[in-house]
């Protein structure tokens, strides 16, 4: 798409690349102030690791949002995926692969409910998924008996778990390099799907103009369903990453990732003048968020005012994103 933009003047260029420019500025400032610490390879890996989970959830949201859909319940569903994943592994002693498979299956089954509300009952995405947040939270906590799933804890029915310690392979998923590799693979797959496959283009066509897409013979319901299913897969991956990184599935462990994942998608919308949710943009958005967090922490900014700074920078990125939209 970028080739079309040859004639864009400077202002447009700045807006299109605002997120990237902000990212570069962050790097320059943090390097100037805390050069040695910030630019060390260890710290770079820290940033990548920290952004992985946000990115994976963001990618999931990107796919749904490419169809002009929305999924507010993405991260509450991810918590359920995490509960299932850890409980299968610890409580029932399933192998790591089997735990992942079962978690994925349960997530996909639960996601059918989302699709049912949106496609069959025709409830607007936002409202349907807002209601489902509570359903996911309640169902998930009922399953785990209200407490965390971690080593040394009994099952809700009082039985002893089959496994008492986490294997190395379990923990490796949440550490670098694996967590970073998984993130990059997710971004790559989503990028290939959205930009280079038929169904990916259908999603953007549908997101751009649902009626025109429908009258071009695109099956819009099927396309929306497919987007939902793909999102569910990324949701599961995100849930597994959270569990592995935290060595347990805490109650509502993924819920808090939603807002920043959403922010990553919105910041990424404008990257390169795409003006729609896109995989690479989401990666950059997530990177901006976690770089800021990391740099500010190194600069010994108190952790309790971090959200305000983070929020302010996000606002700036969003202003750029929507200012460019308005001009058209």
């Amino acid at each position: 798409m970028a080739t079309v933009k040859k004639h864009k003047h400077f202002g447009h260029f700045m807006l299109d690349w605002a997120a990237v420019i902000a990212l570069v500025l962050c790097f320059i400032i943090f390097t100037l102030v805390k050069g040695k610490f910030f630019m060390s390879s260890n710290n770079m890996i820290n940033i990548l690791r920290a952004m992985s989970i946000t990115t994976v959830f963001g990618i999931g949201l990107t796919v749904t949002m490419s169809t002009e859909g929305f999924d507010m319940s993405a991260c509450t569903l991810a918590s359920v995926s995490a509960y299932i994943f850890v409980s299968m592994y610890l409580w029932y002693g399933l192998s790591l692969v089997m735990s992942i498979v079962v978690s994925l299956l349960v997530t996909l089954v639960l996601h059918q409910l989302t699709m049912f509300l949106i496609l069959v009952c025709k409830i607007p995405d936002m409202l349907a998924t807002a209601a489902l947040m509570f359903v996911h939270q309640g169902l998930g906590q009922w399953y785990i008996g209200g407490g965390a799933v971690s080593t040394g804890m009994r099952l809700p029915n009082g039985n002893q778990p089959v496994r008492t310690i986490l294997g190395d392979d379990f923990s490796a998923i949440g550490r670098s390099p694996w967590i970073i590799i998984i993130m990059l693979v997710c971004v790559f797959l989503a990028y290939m799907f959205l930009e280079h496959t038929k169904h990916g283009r259908y999603m953007y066509a549908m997101g751009g103009n649902r009626t025109a897409a429908r009258l071009s013979g695109i099956n819009v319901k099927k396309t929306r369903y497919m987007a939902g299913i793909i999102t569910a897969v990324f949701i599961t991956i995100g849930g597994i990453l959270v569990a592995s990184r935290g060595s347990s599935a805490q109650v509502g462990c993924c819920d808090n990732y939603f807002m920043q994942s959403l922010a990553a998608v919105f910041v990424g919308r404008s990257v390169g003048g795409a003006n729609r949710p896109n995989a690479l943009g989401t990666l950059i958005g997530a990177m901006l968020v976690s770089t800021l967090e990391n740099g500010l922490t190194i600069m010994a900014v108190s952790y309790y005012i971090l959200p305000a700074v983070k929020g302010a920078v996000l606002c700036l990125a969003l202003i750029a994103a929507f200012a460019s939209k308005k001009e058209e």
């Binding site: 798409m1 496959t197 038929k198 283009r201 066509a205 025109a212 013979g217 695109i218």
Partner: protein, 506 residues
Amino acid sequence: MNKITLGTRKVTMQFPGVIALSDVDFEVSTGEIRAVVGANGAGKSTLMKVFAGANPGYTGDVLLNGEVVEIRSPLAAKKLGIQIVYQEVDVALVPTLSVGENVMLNDMVMHKGSPMVNWRKLHTDAKEVLDRLNIKLNTRVLVKDLPLAQKQMVLIARAIQSQCNFLILDEPTAPLSNTETEDLFNLVTHLKETENIAIIFISHRINEIIQICDNYTVMRNGQIVDTSPITENTTSQEIVEKMLGRTFEAFIPKEKVEIGDKLFEVKNLSGADGKVNNVSFYVRRGEIVGIAGLVGAGKSELCKTIFGAYKKTDGEILLNGESIKVENPSKAVAHNIALVPEERRKEGVLVEEDVAFNLSAANLGDFCTFNFLNRKKINENAESFVKELRIVTPSIRQSVKNLSGGNQQKVAVGKWLAADCKLYMFDEPTKGVDVGAKQEIFRLINDITKQGNGVVYASCENSEILSITDRIYVMFDGEIMAELVTADATEDIIMNYAVGNKAEKA
């Protein structure tokens, strides 16, 4: 009651590239019901919008009682006592508020005063207005629960509630049933008798006009060609002739194509929420079939029902003699049926996407290797169509939103040519395109039939239908009124059926 007159002196209205009104002199006075008639694009709505303050760019004078007044905003029009009820009643009503609030809405907005709403007064005031008009409606009912005809009544009540000497009704009867139309006529006659008011009535239904109007004004090509009283001797034939005039548009030659056997047929098709009613017709190979009729006759709805975009309630669709099921557009495409819809920008093209993607959108699967897009194939396809259809674009990567209307339309057609369809339906394909692009679209349509494909051409431009089609079906109110062979048809004949006269079965 003192008579008040409203008129224009040499009013001209220009839009980019079009003169919608030229030197119009018009006058109407209270106590009369005036019909304004004309073919589509004659300038009726443009003139009414001048009165309503919705066309602030007019030149010339608007006269109230012979004095020049400026109507440059809807508010100015309302202050002069000019009220308009547009055809799309839903845009003017707040569905979630009650009838009373909707009737009194102008009053609430215009009169500053206490910030508190006096509910009892609001409802009694509203009731009073409705009683004055003999409308029996509960003021506490929500507007969204009303049928369309009553929504219209609410709007008329709102207009009357404010100062109103001139009430413009823009095609009020188009969506109404017969009994609803009767109710509306009673209301209009009642208004004329009891209020100091002139009613300007726009309608395509000539018979209605003869029934209730006192005088009629005929417009054609942005000019007023005649104003006459309606007498017992006035015939619809006479009015239709004046509407059409004797001038015809530039003739576009139709090429001779051999017509084969039946390709496509619909039998007793009904659907689109009752806007398509028991329609049967067929298309043969190499044939161009015209669907004629006025705006709102159900032509678009018919095309979209066939295409699966609107729900079909009854009837059968046959392709090559076999019954096919078309539940949604995606099924229609699978059966090689194409639709070039009327609302090009909203429905026909994906404006945010580039030319190359648009030209492959209908059959993207053919440009893929294992579901992955093959850019080379897509670009080659786009290049060849851009050349063949003479689409003017700086590059195939240009977003379609930056192309002109005619070129967008070519993209909308090209998309289906790439998909190699059997039946092509065109819904008002020449709307908003210039003469040059029009000719090219006709050339395209001729080419389609040369390959033995069928074409359905729906348009309210009768001259176009006459010059390009082989046979014509005329629609009115969702039904087919007549089937004509183009060689024997004239604009008069089409118009006669289009205003609701049914052909006698031979």
